[in-house]
């Protein structure tokens, strides 16, 4: 299990527990966190779960597939620390992770 903090673009912050193996997109949807839509159900195919991973956590959140890279490249507000939350699975390693959300997803 990991405590994950989701910070909306307006600064509103919510911290929830996400069970091991559950994606951080699912973690947001299950807890009704707005700003993460998850339209494709977690296939790295819609980019509506785009988040910014806090500094220093990059090597713990796993690698980026070719499709994820292509989708991020087309997303609004792409940054070096951009990820698709559906491609990151919760584990004890990620306990305390903070995810910021971009202004818009589409």
């Amino acid at each position: 299990m990991a405590k994950i903090t989701y910070v909306a673009h307006d600064g509103a912050s919510t911290t929830v527990d996400v069970a091991d193996g559950v994606s951080l997109m699912e973690g947001a949807l299950q807890n009704g966190i707005s700003g993460i839509d998850g339209d494709c159900g977690g296939n790295a195919a819609c980019a509506t779960c785009h988040v910014y991973v806090a500094e220093g956590w990059g090597d713990r959140t796993g690698s980026i597939s070719e499709l994820e890279e292509a989708m991020l490249d087309l997303a609004d507000g792409r940054q070096a620390n951009s990820r698709l939350a559906c491609q990151i699975k919760a584990s004890a390693d990620l306990d305390g992770l903070v995810l910021n959300m971009p202004e818009t997803q589409h």
Binding site: G38, D39, G41, N43, A45, C46, L74, D76, H106
Partner: protein
């Protein structure tokens, strides 16, 4: 000895006939149709329920005009989820139908293997006219697709659309306030077309008094030249060239403004990422925005009203709780599936759902079927306005070509339903709608309604 049957001649083809070996003729050869001279929606549905899967060409517009394709897609999902159609291949070269959610997702997300390139035929079941290709990024592969999409993307992103919201709302209010009470009228013409054309004219800052031109061009761009009454190929191309010219005029008038105005044309003309692109490509992108945003939104506007009428309990839920509009908008778009399919061309031999796909094969992703796949969506044939996870539908496609205008479409529908619920307790559909005869644009020609006095 009895003569041997000529197996070679009778054997159905299993792969798309290569374009080089295919004789394109115009008009196309006549269709083989079911032997039902006096067909009705009922008799066509009954036929599709038992016909051999291989003897059906579901691209035939009669099935769509009569809204009876459902049975056939259910059979394909259950019995032959990756299915090749050779029937009528002298018209379409043969195509694979992909009908399950997961398989469609696999094709849509594999842009390395499944191409959208206009020069291979493009993104619809029938190949794009090879002598009239307007460059638009929906029918391009990487890397060019990405460059052009990125140029258009900010224009239809949520933050930019917020600036249009008040204008869209006031235009919506005007249209609704002008509707007659106690009188039968066509919702498609008075509301769906009127609203989408006003909204498009607003977004492009196109002269409002000429807004129906946008509708006309969009209709022409997608109209099937085979359908009696539609423009022939050459006439159609001439009309589209006229449209390009008119937009060039607006472009030229705005490109030298000291500061860009807020409309889409000014934004394209001034944005450093887009202002130096060749004019034809800008035009292709504009056309894509017009066409992409027109029929689709229009038919979602019509469909929503029809679904609420067909499902009075859902309509009652909405009256009791207008907060449901947001999830209802997604459910309307799923249930309507305004584009029934997108097509790809295989760039190499591959295996899809156990079937061998050859390089050059045409693959049809039937979103209309994926959106009713009981393997992915619970109770998919029901229209449920507060469906959990209503956003998880495939009407906008997936992967790098996923609809870039999705937020704009959702915003338009949301504002419309908010304004409808403030004004009208009930809008009754009084007769069955007239449907568009197309396996691509899934929609309505007319929908007669009455608002009680």
């Amino acid at each position: 000895m009895a003569t041997q049957p000529n197996l070679a001649a009778a054997a159905p083809i299993k792969h798309t006939v290569p374009r080089e070996q295919f004789e394109y003729t115009w008009p196309l050869p006549p269709r083989h149709r079911p032997d039902l001279p006096e067909y009705t929606a009922g008799s066509l549905s009954a036929y599709l329920a038992t016909a051999p899967l291989d003897e059906v060409d579901i691209a035939d517009p009669i099935y769509w005009e009569n809204d009876c394709h459902w049975t056939y897609f259910k059979r394909l999902r259950d019995e032959a989820p990756i299915h090749f159609t050779h029937h009528n291949s002298n018209r379409h070269r043969g195509y694979w139908s992909v009908t399950r959610w997961a398989d469609i997702m696999a094709v849509d997300t594999n842009h390395q293997v499944f191409s959208s390139d206009a020069h291979l035929g493009g993104i619809t079941l029938f190949d794009m006219d090879q002598d009239f290709i307007m460059p638009m990024f929906i029918a391009m592969d990487q890397p060019k697709h990405d460059v052009q999409r990125k140029a258009v993307n900010p224009i239809v992103s949520g933050s930019n659309l917020a600036a249009f919201e008040e204008l869209i709302r006031s235009r919506t209010q005007e249209v609704l306030d002008g509707l007659p009470r106690g009188e039968v009228f066509d919702w498609v013409d008075r509301v769906s077309i009127e609203l989408t054309s006003r909204m498009l004219a607003t977004l492009f800052d196109f002269p409002q008094e000429h807004r129906r031109k946008l509708t006309y061009w969009s209709d022409i761009a997608t109209a099937d030249p085979e359908v009696p009454g539609n423009l022939q190929k050459e006439e159609r191309q001439a009309v589209l060239m006229g449209m390009l010219q008119e937009f060039m005029g607006l472009w030229n008038a705005r490109v030298n403004d000291p500061e860009p105005k807020g409309d889409l044309i000014s934004m394209l003309a001034h944005n450093p990422a887009t202002r130096d692109m060749p004019p034809m490509e800008f035009m292709g992108n504009l056309v894509l925005l017009i066409v992409g945003g027109n029929d689709t939104t229009r038919n979602s506007i019509s469909g929503g009203l029809k679904f609420l009428n067909d499902n009075p309990a859902e309509y009652a839920k909405l009256r009791a709780n207008p907060e449901l509009i947001e999830s209802m908008v997604s459910e309307i778009i799923r249930y309507q599936t305004p584009l029934a399919h997108m097509r790809r061309t295989a760039l190499e031999d591959t295996i899809l759902g156990g079937q061998h796909i050859a390089k050059g094969d045409k693959i049809i992703m039937w979103y209309v079927s994926g959106n009713r796949d009981e393997r992915a969506i619970e109770n998919p044939d029901a229209f449920i306005i507060d469906r959990p996870r209503a956003r998880q539908h495939m009407s906008f496609g997936f992967g790098i070509h996923r609809c870039v205008g999705n937020r704009l479409a959702e915003l338009q529908l949301k504002i419309l339903w908010e304004e409808i619920m403030k004004r009208f307790d009930n809008i009754e559909v009084v007769e069955a709608p007239e449907r568009v005869p197309s396996a691509f644009v899934k929609g309505y020609k007319s929908l007669m309604v009455r608002i009680p006095a």
